[in-house]
């Protein structure tokens, strides 16, 4: 009796397991794209967010004046046309007359003016403020025309405006102080609901001036690890997913129903040192660390070789042959000599901070670097932090060293100006500046001839690698995975999800 009883229960249980695990077929809900990502947004203020996860969300909701397409050419967003005055000291935009915020109010020149004044206001602590400091005044001759008067010629300004950190937000919301608590943009999607660390519900903005969106909306779920995301893709629980971990990404193509999009990106993996702290204030110590690191080895181990070793300049047209850069080939003898010269023949200890899962390879990079630096006697302690805690410490410059994945731009000036000029708003993070960097940056900013700019920034690259405040490691790929039923997604080197506006579900 007993035996009979328990077998029945066990087989019943086995059946239940199989049923549950197989996943009962679900009626596809209309035409909303079901999407998954691991790292949720950390905030909604488009001017302040620096984390990729936030930018990925906000670029679906807010729009800047211009944006980059997949070839990194500047194309219209809120502005339909723009023009530099011949002396490059004035930039005029014509706004799209059809552009509306999601509450139905038109986007006016006054909103543009208010948005940039907010970004320029030091109290806002806007992430990209340093890129717009040449703006002396903003004029609005009519509702749809904005004129930026510049204090000096500033060609990279236009590229710098193609950023979600330069989004146009409603002047009324600025006055009400609700930027960051309410997401009200002019972009292709409306944020209907956000449950942090759990899900976002977006619906297509029917009045979007940019055209008709191919899907009714996006349901994003936050799944706490990438194995779960892969499982969700395989069981068709999600249509589209962001994948950060190259280890997981390489498993996607093995599945016949899935497509992996793999795009080289401008963002770079880097070991940041803090030259305001001892002994990283010593040039020889920093150079020794740079020489002791085998960048290819970091890439091969942490990122299973998915990427390429890079110098500071990651954008097409500016990349250089890395073998010409200072110590891009591991040189332990030289590193040891530099350490000895600096008086650290016996090494020292320092702490490196890294964020959990952002990038996915952070912990692995830290461990490879730790093992490489041990060869020259540097004892590295690894401190893993949750992303928002890490960002706090990072912004304060509160670290000895940090493993980071920093965003790239199509132009070197907006990409590095915030770190490497004396007035850069992330100077506190970089903690290093010198006159050479300052003057090269300034020259690059006002120079309009592309060939000359290239030379200027090549000098910049050579110099900063030699000063070694940071050790640039590699650039990797941006991965998205989708079901074969999803079509039309165009990835960009910025890793933007803006291409979702063209996606269709079959």
């Amino acid at each position: 009796m007993g035996r009979h009883f328990s077998t029945k229960f066990l087989s019943g249980l086995a059946l239940a397991v199989t049923l549950g695990a197989a996943g009962i077929a679900v009626p596809a809900s209309a035409a909303s794209l079901k999407m998954a990502w691991k790292q949720d947004a950390t905030g909604l203020d488009p001017h302040k967010q620096t984390a990729f996860s936030s930018i990925r969300l906000l670029e679906l909701i807010y729009e800047p004046l211009v944006r980059f397409d997949k070839n990194l050419t500047i194309v219209p967003a809120l502005a339909t046309s723009w023009e530099f005055a011949p002396d490059a000291k004035q930039l005029t935009f014509k706004l799209n007359p059809a552009a509306k915020f999601q509450d139905g109010k038109p986007v006016t020149a006054a909103d543009v003016k208010a948005s940039f004044e907010r970004i320029l206001d030091e109290k806002t602590a806007a992430a990209a403020r340093a890129n717009y400091l040449s703006i002396a005044s903003i004029e609005t001759p009519d509702d749809k025309t904005v004129v930026f008067k510049l204090s000096q010629p500033d060609v990279p300004l236009l590229a710098a405006m193609a950023s979600i950190n330069a989004s146009i937000v409603p002047a009324a919301e600025i006055a009400a102080g609700t930027i960051g608590t309410k997401a009200l943009g002019s972009g292709p999607f409306k944020l209907d609901n956000w449950v942090p660390n759990s899900k976002e519900t977006l619906s297509a903005n029917k009045d979007w001036a940019g055209g008709k969106v191919g899907i009714d909306g996006i349901d994003i779920s936050v799944l706490p690890d990438e194995t779960a995301i892969l499982a969700a893709l395989r069981t068709k629980q999600v249509d589209f997913a962001l994948i950060n971990d190259p280890l997981v990404a390489t498993l996607v193509p093995k599945e016949t129903s899935l497509v992996l999009n793999r795009t080289p990106v401008l963002a770079y993996h880097v070991l940041q040192m803090n030259p305001s702290r001892k002994p990283m204030d010593n040039l020889a110590v920093r150079q020794a660390i740079s020489c002791a690191i085998d960048r290819q080895d970091v890439l091969d181990t942490a990122s299973v070789g998915e990427g390429r070793v890079t110098g500071p300049l990651t954008m097409p047209g500016y990349t250089s042959d890395t073998s010409t850069l200072f110590c891009y080939k591991k040189d332990i003898a030289k590193a040891k000599k530099l350490m000895a010269d600096a008086g650290f023949a016996n090494g020292f200890s320092a702490t490196v901070i890294a964020a959990n899962g952002e990038p996915a390879t952070a912990a692995a990079e830290a461990q490879v670097i730790q093992s490489q630096l041990a060869e020259i006697g540097v004892k590295l302690n690894i401190k893993m932090m949750e992303l928002n805690v890490y960002v706090d410490a990072w912004l304060k410059g509160d670290f000895d060293m940090a493993v980071a994945l920093n965003g790239g731009r199509a132009d070197p000036y907006p990409m590095y100006n915030r770190y490497w000029t004396k007035t850069g708003n992330l100077q506190k993070v970089a903690n290093y500046s010198d006159d050479t960097l300052d003057s090269l940056m300034q020259k690059g900013r006002v120079e309009t001839d592309p060939a000359k700019r290239k030379i200027i920034f090549a000098d910049f690259e050579k110099h900063i690698v030699e000063m070694a405040p940071w050790v640039w490691l590699y650039t990797s790929y941006n991965y998205t995975a989708q079901q074969k039923t999803v079509s039309g997604f165009e990835p960009t080197p910025e890793g933007s999800l803006f291409g979702l506006t063209k996606v269709k579900l079959n």
Partner: protein, 320 residues
């Protein structure tokens, strides 16, 4: 009834102690509500702004006053505002709680469905080979951490059978029961594994106890068939400790299964606490811990009351 009276009296006392502990613990963490909310931007505040914020958060007052105000708030269901969610803590908890409740109920069903028959079966086969088998299995079940069970289960299913757990956006039961059950069954089995092992062990030993009692022996000697003795006489009494154990375990599960929710990507109470701790959302940590401890105490109290009702012979001693 004196036991009951004492139990009911100590309940608010313990709850008060819990609230003090939670309140003090959170205040031992470096930084205050202002730095927790603004992070680095707190450095940009003028001293007047800081004072205004301090007054807003009430942290300009003596700690006892702060505690008293917080406690008054708690009584009105006000657990504070979460910094990361920008919403009242209680509403966030109540959003996550149904999942945790459902998971706890399902795990209990799994545990009882497997553990009870297995335990009874083992008891009737006392010291035979099949009894030993059940006991070994129960021991292994009790010794395997649930996250290890979960990882091995996921691996075994996908590598061995090509079956994958259903993960994706969580669907509440009322929205789509089938899809919901599809998502919940594996986590429930994972949590039910150790739980079933405990049920097996306790029901086996309770059954053995009862079978050796005089009245059962008498019934047996009067020629009542063995199965009838087991089902009609022994089982009702043997169930008492099983009910108690299940109640206590259920109370634990209501606190959220941090690790299992993490593995199966379920947004339950356990993951909420973990996220709150990792992201230093102190109001949320405080609210969650208080909520969970409250549930845990209430369930334990109910279990005790049930125990006394089921078995009036019992006089629970000191400290019970």
């Amino acid at each position: 009834m004196s036991y009951l009276a004492r139990r009911l009296l100590t309940f608010p006392l313990v709850m008060l102690g819990v609230s003090i502990l939670v309140f003090v613990a959170i205040r031992m963490v470096p930084g205050d509500a202002i730095t927790a909310m603004l992070g680095t931007e707190a450095g940009l505040l003028t001293s007047a702004q800081r004072a205004a914020l301090a007054a807003y958060f009430g942290i300009d007052q003596p700690i006892l006053v702060q505690y008293w105000k917080w406690l008054l708030g708690v009584f009105q269901g006000d657990l504070g505002i979460s910094v990361t969610h920008g919403k009242p803590v209680l509403s966030i908890i109540l959003e996550r709680f149904p999942l945790t409740l459902q998971l706890a109920l399902m795990s209990m069903c799994v545990a009882l469905a497997v553990g009870l028959p297995a335990g009874i079966f083992a008891a009737t086969r006392n010291e035979k080979l099949s009894d030993l088998g059940v006991r070994i299995f129960a021991m292994i079940g009790q010794s395997t951490p649930n996250f290890v069970v979960g990882l091995l289960l996921i691996y075994a299913l996908s590598a061995g059978f090509g079956v994958l757990p259903t993960m994706g956006e969580f669907t509440p039961f009322l929205t789509d029961p089938l899809r919901n059950l599809g998502q919940m069954i594996l986590p429930a089995v994972t949590l039910g594994f150790a739980f079933a092992a405990s049920v097996t062990r306790i029901s086996r030993s309770a059954m053995l106890d009862v079978l050796s009692d005089d009245y059962v022996r008498t019934a047996r000697s009067k020629g009542v068939p063995k199965m009838s003795v087991i089902w009609r006489h022994a089982l009702p009494n043997a169930l008492i400790p099983v009910v108690t154990l299940s109640g206590v375990e259920f109370g634990y599960l209501l606190g959220g299964a941090v690790l299992v929710e993490q593995i199966y990507a379920l947004p339950g109470l356990g993951r909420l606490v973990l996220e709150a701790i990792l992201q230093r959302d102190y109001a949320l940590v405080q609210g969650c811990v208080l909520f969970i401890a409250f549930n845990f105490l209430v369930v334990n109290l109910l279990v005790d009351l049930l125990y006394v009702t089921l078995d009036p012979r019992i006089r629970l001693g000191e400290g019970g």
